[in-house]
Amino acid sequence: MPWSREEIAQRAAEELQDGFYVNLGIGIPTLVANYIPDNVQVILESENGMLGMGPFPYPDQVDPDLINAGKQTISELAQTSYFSSADSFAMIRGGHINLAILGAMQVAQNGDLANWMIPGKMIKGMGGAMDLVAGVNKVVVIMDHTAKDGSPKFLKSCDLPLTGSNVTDLLITNLAVFHFEEDKPTLIELAPSVDLDEIKEKTEAEFIVSPDLKSN
C-alpha cells in the first residue's frame, strides 16, 4: 500500500535532527511540521524573512504583517527573529540551513530537480526554490512516484526546465525512498506492500538497491 500524503510527510520528518534549521516548501512539505518527533527540536525558516516560524495563529491573533513564504498567516515564537529578504537568502545561499523539504514535478538520477515550470502553461515563477536547492545543505524532495497517467516522474533526465542541477539528496515518493550519492541513486526503503518489481516498473531512472533495503 503506497504511503499517503501524511505518511510521506511523516517519513520526511525522520530526516529532522535536533537543533536543525529547516525550510519547508509549500504543499505536502508543510505537513512535515505536524510530525516532528518529540525529542527533536527544529527551527523553521521562512524565506520571506523569519526564523522560528510558529503554527497558524488563533483567529483573533491573525496579523497581516506576519505571513510565511506561502503567504499564509502564521504566528511567532519566543526565539523568533525577523530579517530582510537579502539577509534571508544570504542565510540560505551561505549554507546555514541544514535541511529543506520540497515538492517536485520530476527528479533525475543525477539529482536534477524540476519543480517550477511546465512549458506551454503560464509560468508563475521560481520564487525562492532555485536559491533553496542551490544553498541548503541537504535537500529532501517529496513527490508522487508517477504522474496521474502512470508515467514515471523519477527519470534518467528531466524534460521539464530544471530548478537545480544535481541538488537532490533524498527522494521520498509514495512508493519508496532513494538516497543520492556520487554515482547513482540508491533505493533504501519501500512503502508497505510495495516490492522491488513495482519500483523497477514505475521508475525510469537507473538506481542501485541497497543491501540494507528496508521494507515497511
Binding site: P57, V62, T73, M126, G128, M130, D131
Partner: protein
Amino acid sequence: MNKLKNSASEALEGVLFDGMTIMAGGFGLCGIPEYLITALRDSGVKDISVISNNCGIDDFGLGILLHTRQIKKMISSYVGGNKTFEQQYMKGELELEFNPQGTLAERCRAGGAGIAGFYTKTGVGTVIAEGKEHKEFNGETYILETGLVADLSLVKAWKADDEGNLVYRKTARNFNPVMATAGKTTIAEVEEYVSLGDFDPDHIHTPGIYVNGFIVGTDHKKPIEIMTTREYVA
C-alpha cells in the same frame, strides 16, 4: 531637515517620468506601499519597468497598474495568482524577467552597495544561467549576476522619524530595506510618525540617508491573501 511629506502625490512630485524603472517593496501583499502605488496610478506615468518580488493581485497592490497598462516590464520571482497579469503576458503586452528570489534580493542589495556584479550558485544548470558568465571558485561553478538600481524605490515601513530613519514590522520587512538602498530616489510610506530621538539608534533598520521623503498613511488596508488559523482547544 524634516522629510515628512503631506501626501503621496507631493512625495512623488518631480521624480516620475515615462519609461522609468521603479522598485517596489513587499512580499505578496505584505509590506507593500499601498498609497504610493495608488499615487503612481493617479499620476498616469507610463511604460514603467517594475522591480518587485510579485505583482500584487488583480485589484490590489501593483495589480492596479496592470489595469491601467502603465507597466511595460516586470522583474520578479513569482507572479502567480494574478489573472490580469497572465492575460497581458500571454498576449505579449507585458515583458517579464524572472529572477530567483534570493538573486533578486541580492541584486538590489548589490545595486545599493556599489557592487557591480556577484557570483552565485543559484540557477547554475538552469535557464537562469543561460547567457551568463560562468566561473569556478574552489572547484564549484558560479554564475555572474549584476547589481540593480532604480530611478525610484517605493518602500513600506512601520515607523519613521523626521530624518527618515525607518523601522519595519515582522515579515513586512522583506524586500523593503534593500530596495530603499537601491533607488536614486527613495520614498517611504509608514503607519506611524515618531519624533526625532524616539527610536533607539541600535534598532533602526534603514538609516535616513537612504530616504528622500516619506508619507504617513492612515488605515492601511493590508489585505490577507491566505487566511490560515488554528482552533482554540478547550
